[in-house]
Symmetry: C2
Subunit: 573 residues, 2 copies
């Protein structure tokens, strides 16, 4: 592998011929990784007008540029393709061990293409010598948890696994791709945009990545790397938010959103929830401490992470119910459904994980279904039954598993919180208007991880200036997603931007400056916008739903009133 640039190569997997080829990295791909590289590959290789579940779409795995070194919060895997949910560009990233191990095999991008013959169903096994396909009939239809267990029994416990659940096999549009965390639990889902359905369409149940057959990614200048790592870790640990997430996980956001009136409640009809306290991070921490056993309020999803924002939600019997329980799930499956009980939400989350679904889009779909009268607000039992119908593939189940947009269309409901067909996360955009701008304009569809603005020190209800805040957030996040850095790594990098420069230069023997994060971010967004443009997107797609401009949301009784002109100028930089 020595003469390959940076010891990395492109692995190309054809599902039709069942062959795996290793190719050198094209010049224009070298300085990209993760989300940015996925956008590049989509532009270079995937016809933008193609059917997302058809022959011409590709499923791409690419670790970010900083992946492979146990930098805190920087070993994420990006997965992408044309989205069956939005019809546009899609990158969804996850923590866990996939990013690290794929890098240990020297893979810069794993490109899965073509369609299987005769509904053939496989597991793709990869190690340093290449890979092979194994028949996966025995795993067909299995939930993620059982499938993980049986795949680990067969392939060993050290490998990373990326796999789909029944939802991906059923080609549901809210299906994601699960990844194992450092404890071997399928807990880190690349949830958004239906990439699990793309994997299902390729006839792939799982990819087993035996990274330890390979070696740690080389570093051009180890000393400089170590110094930069130290600077980054220091500024990360010194950031006050870091401690907050260590203590309460992402669930810390419940009280914060409640305070801002931005906690989506009863299908986004309100921004505060009378039982917010019962589903808060404080409540969860207290509960998990008291329960002990498997419960763990402070858990790392990747080796080396110092933030440890994840958690294990255990039952009274000491056994794990689900890991993790994130704020997004709590919001969409809790307050958004009028459910004020963490244990119910945790049990719902377990099933949605097991199906291999995006809990945001499923939670939003259940909210829309409640609006249509299919369940009562707060009725966790009925919500659980509806999730069970996804397993059985009834029209109701499939509808919910396709997410909020299609559920709204079928049920004739207009109050559907989606942009580009993808559900909004647990941040009410009429109360946090900068995030509304991100939802509206992100090439990914509504997605808080593309530029959450809630921490900006501004009046979030004032429409003025929100586009600038969103723009800056979107550029940074596209940059971080290209580095493989978690959203929380930004706490560290923001305080020491030179550490990004130094890490990249030391790793790759480059000579870049501190503008790299923004230049990667801009380049990535530009490519994504171009893919969407070619796929038929126009400015009309960069809008929040009409009802959010008309219907005031309590407690601030705010509507979304950022002018269209601001949205349309967002990417004119």
């Amino acid at each position: 592998m020595e003469n390959r640039p940076y010891n990395l190569s492109v692995w190309r997997v054809n599902m039709h011929d069942k062959n795996i080829r290793q190719e050198s990295v094209p010049e224009s791909w070298i300085r990209l990784g993760g989300r940015g590289l996925i956008a590049r590959i989509l532009l270079d290789e995937v016809p933008p007008e193609c059917e997302p579940l058809g022959e011409y779409n590709k499923l791409i795995f690419s670790p970010g540029l900083l992946v492979g070194h146990m930098l805190s919060s920087c070993d994420r895997i990006s997965i992408g393709g044309k989205s069956p949910l939005t019809g546009g560009v899609k990158e969804s990233n996850a923590g866990g061990t996939t990013g690290m191990q794929i890098t240990m095999l020297g893979i810069k991008a794993l490109i899965i293409e073509g369609m299987p013959v005769d509904n053939d169903f496989s597991i793709l096994y990869l190690d340093k010598d290449g890979g092979r396909f194994d028949k996966a009939e025995e795993f067909r239809g299995l939930g993620v948890y059982e499938a993980t267990q049986r795949i680990r029994e067969k392939y060993g416990e050290k490998s990373a696994i990326a796999l789909i659940g029944p939802a991906g096999e059923m080609k549901l549009k809210a299906a994601g791709i699960q990844n194992l965390d450092k404890d071997g639990t399928p807990a880190r889902i690349a949830a958004r945009g239906g990439l699990g359905a793309v994997m299902g369409s390729k006839g792939l149940k799982a990819i087993v990545i035996n990274g330890f057959s390979g070696e740690k990614a080389p570093i051009a200048n180890p000393e400089a790397f170590k110094l930069a790592q130290k600077a980054y870790t220091k500024s990360l640990l010194e950031h006050p938010q870091t401690a907050l997430y260590r203590d309460y996980g992402t669930a810390a956001m419940v009280e914060m959103c409640q305070a801002f009136g931005s906690l989506p409640t009863r299908n986004f009809s309100a921004g505060i929830f009378e039982k917010a306290e019962d589903i808060s991070g404080e409540k969860m921490r207290e509960l998990l401490h008291a329960r002990g056993g498997a419960s763990n309020p402070t858990h790392a999803c990747m080796p080396g992470c110092t933030i440890r924002c994840s958690n294990i939600f255990g039952g009274e019997d000491g056994k794990m119910i689900v890991s993790p329980l994130e704020y997004e799930t709590i919001g969409l499956m809790g307050s958004n459904l009028g459910i004020g009980d963490l244990e119910t939400i945790a049990r719902m989350c377990y099933k949605v994980n097991d199906l291999g679904l995006d809990s945001i889009d499923v939670g939003a779909a259940l909210g829309v279904a409640a609006e249509a009268g299919l369940l009562q607000w707060g009725d966790g039992v009925r919500a659980m039954e509806m999730i069970d119908e996804i397993y059985s593939g009834t029209p109701l189940g499939r509808m919910i598993g396709c997410g909020a947009s299609l559920t709204g269309m079928i049920l004739g409901i207009e109050r559907v919180p989606v942009v580009k067909g993808q559900a909004m996360a647990s941040y009410e955009p009429r109360a946090i208007k900068g995030t509304g701008v991100t939802y509206a304009t992100s090439p990914q569809g509504a997605d808080h991880t593309c530029g959450l603005t809630i921490r900006a020190k501004v009046d979030h209800l004032d429409p003025k200036g929100q586009a600038e805040i969103s723009r800056s957030g979107q550029i940074n996040m596209a940059g971080y997603d290209t580095l493989g850095a978690c959203i929380f790594a930004g706490f560290g990098f923001a305080a020491s931007p030179e550490s990004i420069r130094d890490l990249l230069n030391a790793r790759y023997n480059w000579n870049i400056d501190t503008t790299i994060l923004q230049s990667l971010g801009r380049e990535t967004l530009t490519m994504e916008r171009e893919f969407n443009r070619r796929a038929g997107f126009t400015k009309i797609d960069d809008r929040l739903p009409e009802w959010m401009r008309l219907e005031p949301v309590p407690p601030h009784n705010a509507v979304f009133d950022v002018p269209d002109e601001d949205l349309d100028m967002l990417f004119n930089w």
Copy 2:
């Protein structure tokens, strides 16, 4: 009314304030009617990006320019708005008595706007003095047949009625608007594109039009009009196709399509059907003659029509099963589902009519559902059960009632015969490629009435030149739809184009020439394209589904291979 141009005015109905205003016709609307005027009004008044079932959409009724004089096949009503099915411009027209009676009230366009308060549900009654709103709670949820009967009992039997069934009330995306034929049967549905859902969103069960309180539309030069009418009728009756439709109705197309290999069979997986003979026009004629009673193979939907292509399908007991049974329904609910029995198809059609749904999109949806295994090919009993679920509003029922596109998305099926979300009619576009061009490029979505090319004397399998044939058909049809002329009126007008000129000049005291049909057609298409462009459509929307380019259809094993360049140049005239 004397000083209003041409004695016509615009009637504007606000569902929020419940008021009805009569306005003079704006200058730029005067020389338009029907489909062309709807496009103009949409461009002038409806924000193209608006939510189709929301506050800003409008429902427009407009008779064509030649309506009101019992010219054979020329009294059609055009209904339009932004389509909830396609998201674009929509005009759907129907025969029956609505066009004539609305013209007798001097209405050039009836524009229904705003949203009702508190889920208020009304009947709009119109007569020469204006109109009023009556509470319609007693009619809520009623099928079209029973609602018609009860509305006629209440308002008298002479008025025209445009009404929705349960599907429109449920805001299903394949809901149409039913109109009465000359015998008072709700048999003439403006079926396509979900306009029934728009009417449902406006809280309107029915519009009762007491045309006979008004007067026949005036004619500027009656003598000249009579002469032109005579010329037109003569050339219409002399056309050989006219006799064919009189004898066999539109069902004559079954054998013709079978011969071309373009009869959609088993969800468009084949173009010939082994039981085609059993569902043919010949078979139907034979059956209806033998049965007698209510059966009538040669029936006119509008007073004065000399073609009489419609029929009444009676049972063995002499009672009506449904009226009419059209080729489109026979194809989509017959061969497309593997059902080779006319009586079964007639009974399915009755229910779909009663629900107020488009039998094309529902038939296509059932075909997709069969592909997904929800019913067996040829199983009419199960198909009927599934239609019954639409009444009960189950997720399955609602899905089918939303048409083929959403059904395919929910069920994860790719072989879905739609363009712009609207189902193709019973003409396989890989075998009749010019019609494929029409499906792909029409601003209305897949719609055979926008430019059917099957009668062109060309090799329908040769991709060359199909765009030109489709273009000419689309221009003509947009012209006819603006005149209020039935697709079959073209048999007469094509042979005597000067009669269009003479009729219009005599009617309105204009001074136009024989290019009027094409200039109306081009103007209409240009406005429709512009509305769609503003609504976010791009050339990517002007494509057949990908699988139709990849999957050969028997018996000719043809794929759709008209080049994209031809599609993109269609409207460059």
